[in-house]
Amino acid sequence: MSDKKPERRDFLFTASYAVGAVGAAAVVWPLIDQMNPDASVKALASTEVDVSSVKRGNTITVLWRGKPVFIRRRTEEEITEARSVKMEDLIHPEKDEDRAKNPEWLVMLGVCTHLGCVPLNDKGDYDGWFCPCHGSHYDTSGRIRKGPAPLNMEVPKYEFVNANTIKIG
């Protein structure tokens, strides 16, 4: 750097660059943001599902926001198995009580948290789900037990509108 004192011209240069950068950023942002979910995609935010026909030990899969959601009506053994697991044995410790408020119903995104494949029902070493893509095993609470996935399958926001209807989203 020179020891020259900043003069009028240096100020003009700096000010022009700054204004130019702000202007360029303002123009670029719409071009980037247009790729984010649009209004029509966001509008499809919730879906209602009739679960009256689901028997114990069965899973139905419904589509929500383009993603599969597993709704499993668990058996007593599955609930016991899920609730008896020690927290230290979990990769991503979460209590089954927090994941399934109503123990009979497990509602979660059927999306492997590794790279987004749909895990298979009633498979794997923990009687829950198994992802065929890269071999992640999930237990009867949809918690990751073995394999490359870092997190449990996500429980979306949902509620029972009445005894037979679940509203997801």
Binding site: I32, M35, N36, P37, D38, V41, T61, L63, R65, G66, K67, P68, H114, L115, G116, C117, V118, P119, C131, P132, C133, H134, G135, G147, P148, A149, P150
Partner: protein, 422 residues
């Protein structure tokens, strides 16, 4: 660039050339002095140019019939296959052309690795090449999504989800890439746009790649600097043009074999099933040319580190000119490097095979060892080898390497004497 003066013979040519020196450029390209010992491994540059042009031409014609919409894409591809005149031929050339492109680029890359073509003063050529290779992978991946079959959909899901491994902003980036909460129509339309754009970016980079090549000139099998032009060089035209042309014909025979006799052998049957977001195919595998990197991704049991390892495996190539500390370019004069080179080739092939197998048991173990070796080769073996290896003395010129002072001397003499007997 040009070290010789050129004046067009015709008056019109001179008038034009004074205003836009295209004829000087053409003359530079035809007269371009090329090492006279270039072997057939050097013909893949021309072959790759052919592949790029083939992909652009067939891609343009396919785009006239393809519909980039989640509800219609799969059907429009079948429409191309069944109804469009020669649509089956154009699509099969395009689909197999991608594989042929990668086959050629891998040979081209491994040629550079063997003969040390990435070393000073050719680092920029090499780095531009790596960028082209990355763009090729992006283009191939997005192109594979366009038919909107099961592999398209789930391949897109898995690959875009790689970005979710980035801490904090990962999920946001994935949503932004998708334009929604899953791979869907917005994803398809933007992939189509980018798939259309990338080949032209590659074309621009190919021009830079060749421009950068023409500054120092070609490396050669002996790997020594040569005087240009001299007795060690021949003009590009007709010598190299004819040799490249012959190699291209051989390559086209292989290409045509795939297109006409086994057009689907390099693809996956699952991609003839329309995309279904509810069901993942039992076994997701990328196209063969991405398998070694896929094996590296899967061999690391942590999501983020797996992605980091996979990307590093590619990007490590960009710094190769500085990892390889040996002053000698060609493996011909590096007895140890030559062996490690072939081990690396085997290692990459093993990784490719493991990438196609399920990630469990022995397969996973072998993939892990092969992954470790891959990085060991670039990060430890190459830097150390440059200091430790006892190299064979290199000849002073290409001519000398044929006529004397080379380890191939005996062979050359034998050939001469057997020719004399005829």
């Amino acid at each position: 660039m040009s070290d010789h003066d050129y004046t067009p013979s015709s008056k019109v040519g001179k008038w034009f050339n004074d205003r836009l020196p295209l004829l000087t450029l053409a003359n530079h390209l035809t007269d371009y002095p090329t090492p006279k010992n270039l072997n057939y491994w050097w013909t893949f540059g021309g072959i790759l140019t052919f592949c790029l042009i083939t992909q652009i031409v067939t891609g343009l014609t396919l785009a006239m019939h393809y519909i980039a919409h989640a509800d219609m894409a799969f059907e429009s591809v079948e429409h191309i296959m069944r109804d469009v005149n020669y649509g089956w031929l154009i699509r099969y050339i395009h689909a197999n052309g991608a594989s042929m492109f990668f086959l050629a680029v891998y040979i081209h890359i491994f040629r550079s690795l063997f003969y040390g073509s990435y070393k000073s003063p050719r680092e920029i050529i090499w780095i531009i090449g790596i960028i082209i290779y990355l763009l090729m992978m992006a283009a191939a991946f997005m192109g594979y999504v366009l038919p909107w079959g099961q592999m398209s959909f789930w391949g897109a899901t898995v690959i875009t989800n790689l970005f979710s491994a980035i801490p904090l902003v990962g999920e946001g980036i994935v949503t932004w890439l998708w334009g929604g909460y899953s791979v869907d129509n917005p994803t398809l339309t933007r992939f189509f746009t980018l798939h259309y754009l990338i080949p032209f970016l590659i074309l621009g980079l190919v021009v830079l790649h060749i421009w950068a090549l023409h500054v120092p000139g070609n490396n050669n099998p002996v790997g020594i600097d040569i005087k240009k032009p001299s007795k060690d060089t021949v003009p590009f035209h007709p010598y190299i043009v004819i040799k490249d042309g012959f190699a291209l014909l051989m390559f086209m025979i292989v290409f045509a074999f795939f297109v006409f006799y086994s057009p689907n052998i390099l693809g996956h049957a699952d991609n003839y099933i329309e995309a279904n977001p509810m069901v993942t195919p039992a076994h997701i595998v990328p196209e063969w040319y991405l398998l070694p990197f896929y094996a590296i991704l899967r061999s690391v049991p942590d999501k983020l580190l797996g992605v980091v390892a996979m990307l590093s495996a590619i990007l490590i190539l960009a710094v190769l000119p500085w990892l390889d500390t040996s002053k000698i370019r060609s493996a011909v004069f590096r007895p140890l490097y030559k062996q490690f080179y072939w081990i690396l080739v085997a290692d990459v092939l093993i990784l490719g095979y493991m990438g196609a197998m399920p990630a469990e048991g022995l397969y996973l173990l072998i993939a892990r060892v092969a992954t470790a070796y891959y990085f060991l080769h670039f990060l430890v073996i190459l830097p150390v080898l440059g200091f430790k290896e006892k190299t064979i003395p290199v000849p002073l010129s290409i001519t000398e390497s044929v006529l004397g002072g080379s380890p191939n001397l005996a062979a050359a003499r034998n050939r001469e004497s057997s020719e004399n007997l005829k």
